[in-house]
Assembly symmetry: D2
Homo-oligomer: 165 residues x 4
């Protein structure tokens, strides 16, 4: 009986870092900022704006989407789960990093049109013989039965799960 669900809307702090492995697996990562606006209490205390930075990690078929479309400054909707991994730093001390493993990423309109969870899947599932827009109509999500093709066996994606980042 368990659920681990994260929903974020925020802005990308810098261009994604994308890495490919010999196994064929790939991983992308980038920082995403969410902000709480500041306010003033009744007693005059000023609570300043506060920005939270999230480490977004992307695997499998989401990687190519991120590599192609996500840039510094992009406004994104991200769904995923929390994962904390640990590693030993240069002093042999165990350190922890918490990341958001994304299952779904959508562009969250920078001023223009609305986005919706439904549209996303639809317009995503294209990208073939269609002329690509300068910005994607929508987003992307993990999943899909056909990922298990011989050229991208599922086990690889999961081996990547054990990589130290």
């Amino acid at each position: 009986m368990s659920l681990n669900k994260v929903i974020l809307i925020g802005n990308v702090g810098k261009d994604p870092d994308v890495r490919y492995f010999d196994s064929g697996a790939a991983i992308a990562s980038f920082p995403l900022a969410t902000s709480e606006r500041g306010y003033t209490l009744a007693n005059g205390t000023v609570i300043p704006e506060r920005t939270e930075w999230h480490n977004i990690v992307v695997r499998r078929d989401l990687v190519s989407f991120v590599e192609k479309w996500v840039k510094k400054g992009s406004g994104l909707y991200v769904e995923g789960k929390i994962r904390t991994r640990n590693y030993d730093d240069q002093n042999g001390i165990k350190r922890y990093v918490t990341e958001i493993h994304a299952d779904r990423i959508e562009f969250y309109n920078n001023g223009s049109r609305p986005a919706d969870s439904s549209t996303t899947q639809a317009s995503t599932n294209t990208g073939n013989n269609m002329t690509q827009p300068v910005q994607p109509n929508t987003g992307y999500q993990q999943g899909g039965t056909t990922l298990q093709s011989p050229t991208a066996p599922f086990s690889e994606s999961n081996e990547a799960d054990d990589l130290p980042f």
Copy 2:
């Protein structure tokens, strides 16, 4: 083992309808629109934009917040649950209406400042000796106006925010 959770971001279709009852109870309701943007398929088929209208229902202490701040056109973040009620129409036929009973409402910036789930509760808890902004800094959720009582001033809660634990 049950969960019934709805998260919406959209725009208010018309000014809320607010009703008060002899019992002291109050209820507010208004339509909220969420939109999926349209797109064009690879084969040229045009899928038009689609707007979904949700009946938002508000009770208890959220009512006064809605009455005061929510207007036609307001951009809102709404959390709640789905409820379908039925009634007999003029022909004695049972009819069903599905509504979203809101547990939490926040203003979702119309172009200006960001909002965050945390800020909301804070700046909501106003209504005392504080000069009211023209638009609320934030939103509201079920429960909690009385946090800003003299015995538990809000600033204290926030001082705790800086404690190393």
Copy 3:
């Protein structure tokens, strides 16, 4: 700027109804119950348990998963969006039905093992040369680039969107 997101955990009220169309499109639907438990107020008033029924609608690649695994009584985690459609009843009166269009379905352990959003996608993305378990390890979700195969063109899935159920 829009979001329409529903998260439900509940039990299936009866075996899914599955329909196939000449276009190749398919649709499955079933009722899902979520329950609020009853309680007694301080003044002695008894608030009884309340069950909410949701109309779950499933399309595309989720259909075969549902047809194969989902049964009356199944405990499910469902993510999706709200959609209200209308039709004219036998008296020519416009009637409305609100449905949850599922983007993701997972089995939510009936007493046994925990489920998690991540696991789900993983164990789902198999189903090839693997011997099938009596009950799936997990669930399923919409998406996947390769859905747009010639035998299941995307436009068909969307034509189904206009069907009266």
Copy 4:
């Protein structure tokens, strides 16, 4: 334009740590485990069960609820937001800790009755002249103990539930 939302269902790893400050502020914290079940890939690779530990932090009026009811082993539903804070360790090196600041906590039935987001608020708002159950009927959320004031008894809010609007 920002959202930072976490939804967890899991089990408490040890009894909460509760601290009170001179200011009157209080804070509670405890670890919560979510688990992904293991599975076997088509190629025979065994992916073991994986447990994720979350640091839950609770403030304000949620603290007393946690102190009273939450124990090691408790099955909880937790809603909140992600926050990462940093501090300098004994070697003067900056370290980071990511925590989930809870806005809402509910008991998630250990085998028995269902829970629902609505019920929660209701049965929570007790703590007056009512005999307390051994385990709370439900959960709690930020804000709102004072709803059960004489001028706004909870039963009234619920009578409104039956009004045709």
